[in-house]
C-alpha cells in the first residue's frame, strides 16, 4: 500500500496539467451565463483536475494534502449558498428563486442588449452566483465520492 503511486513521469505530467484543467473549469463556471456550460459542467471539470491528482499520486500523499472534511464542507457551502441566494428573493418581495439582482445596475445587474452579442460578465443577476454555488457543490460532491472510493483500494471486502 505504501508505494502505490505512479511513475515520476505520470506524476509530473499530472502536476503540469492540473492548473490548466482548473483554469478551464473555473472559466466554464464563471462564464456560465454567457457561453455553453455552467455550474454542473464546470464543477465536473474542476473535479476532474483533482481526480487527475488522485490517480497519479499514492493515497497517503493525497490524504496529507486534500482532506475529506474539506471537500464535504465545500459541497455543503455550495448547496447552502445556492439555497440562500434563492431565499433572499423572498426577502425582497419576489418569488422563491426570483432573480433579485437583474437590472439593478449593481453587481451582475448591467442590462443586456437583445440579440446576438458577445455579452458582459457583469450581467445575469443571480445566475452567476448560482453557477458558482452549484460549481462548488458538484466539485465537492465528486471529490467526496472519489475520496471515499479511494479509501477502499487494496482492502478486502
Amino acid at each position: 500500500m505504501k508505494n502505490m503511486n505512479m511513475s515520476n513521469l505520470v506524476r509530473t505530467s499530472a502536476g503540469l496539467l492540473m492548473p490548466f484543467v482548473l483554469v478551464f473549469g473555473f472559466y466554464i463556471v464563471i462564464h456560465g451565463h454567457l457561453t455553453p456550460g455552467g455550474g454542473f459542467q464546470g464543477g465536473a471539470v474542476i473535479a476532474t483536475a483533482f481526480v487527475l491528482l488522485f490517480v497519479a499520486h499514492s493515497r497517503e500523499t493525497i490524504r496529507e494534502r486534500i482532506s475529506l472534511g474539506f471537500m464535504k464542507n465545500t459541497e455543503t457551502l455550495g448547496l447552502m449558498l445556492f439555497i440562500l441566494t434563492a431565499l433572499i428573493a423572498l426577502g425582497v418581495g419576489l418569488a422563491f428563486f426570483g432573480n433579485w439582482l437583474v437590472g439593478t445596475g449593481g453587481l451582475f445587474g448591467t442590462p443586456v442588449a437583445f440579440g446576438i452579442n458577445p455579452g458582459d460578465l457583469n450581467t445575469g443577476g443571480v445566475i452567476p452566483i448560482m453557477n458558482v454555488a452549484v460549481g462548488l457543490e458538484v466539485l465537492g460532491a465528486m471529490s467526496v465520492i472519489i475520496l471515499a472510493m479511494l479509501s477502499g483500494i487494496g482492502r478486502e471486502a
Partner: protein
C-alpha cells in the same frame, strides 16, 4: 415457440412506434410557444446571454434545486455505504 412470439411482439411494437415517428418532422416540436417566449424575453428578464443557463437557473430554478439535492443524496448514500472504510482510514491516519 416462446422466443418466436417474443420476437414477433418486439417487431410489432417497434414497427408501430417507428411508423408513428416517421410522420414527425425533425426539429419541429408540436408546441413551441414556451421556446419562443424564452428566446424573446430571456435576455431582458434574466440578463444572461446563454438561454440554456437562463432556463436552468432562473425559469426552472426548482428543477436545479432538485438536481442538487439528488447529487447531495448520492454523496450521502456513497458515504453511508463506504463509511466503515473511511473510518478505518482515518484511524490509520491519526495513529
Amino acid at each position: 415457440m416462446k422466443q418466436i412470439v417474443t420476437w414477433i411482439v418486439i417487431a410489432v411494437v417497434a414497427g408501430s412506434l417507428l411508423l408513428c415517428a416517421s410522420g414527425l418532422e425533425f426539429g419541429a416540436p408540436a408546441y413551441q410557444d414556451m421556446d419562443d417566449y424564452m428566446i424573446a424575453h430571456g435576455q431582458e428578464e434574466t440578463g444572461g446571454n446563454n438561454i440554456v443557463t437562463d432556463v436552468v437557473f432562473d425559469y426552472r430554478g426548482f428543477d436545479t434545486l432538485g438536481e442538487a439535492t439528488v447529487l447531495f443524496t448520492a454523496v450521502l448514500g456513497i458515504g453511508l455505504v463506504l463509511r466503515t472504510l473511511a473510518k478505518e482510514d482515518e484511524e490509520y491516519e491519526y495513529e
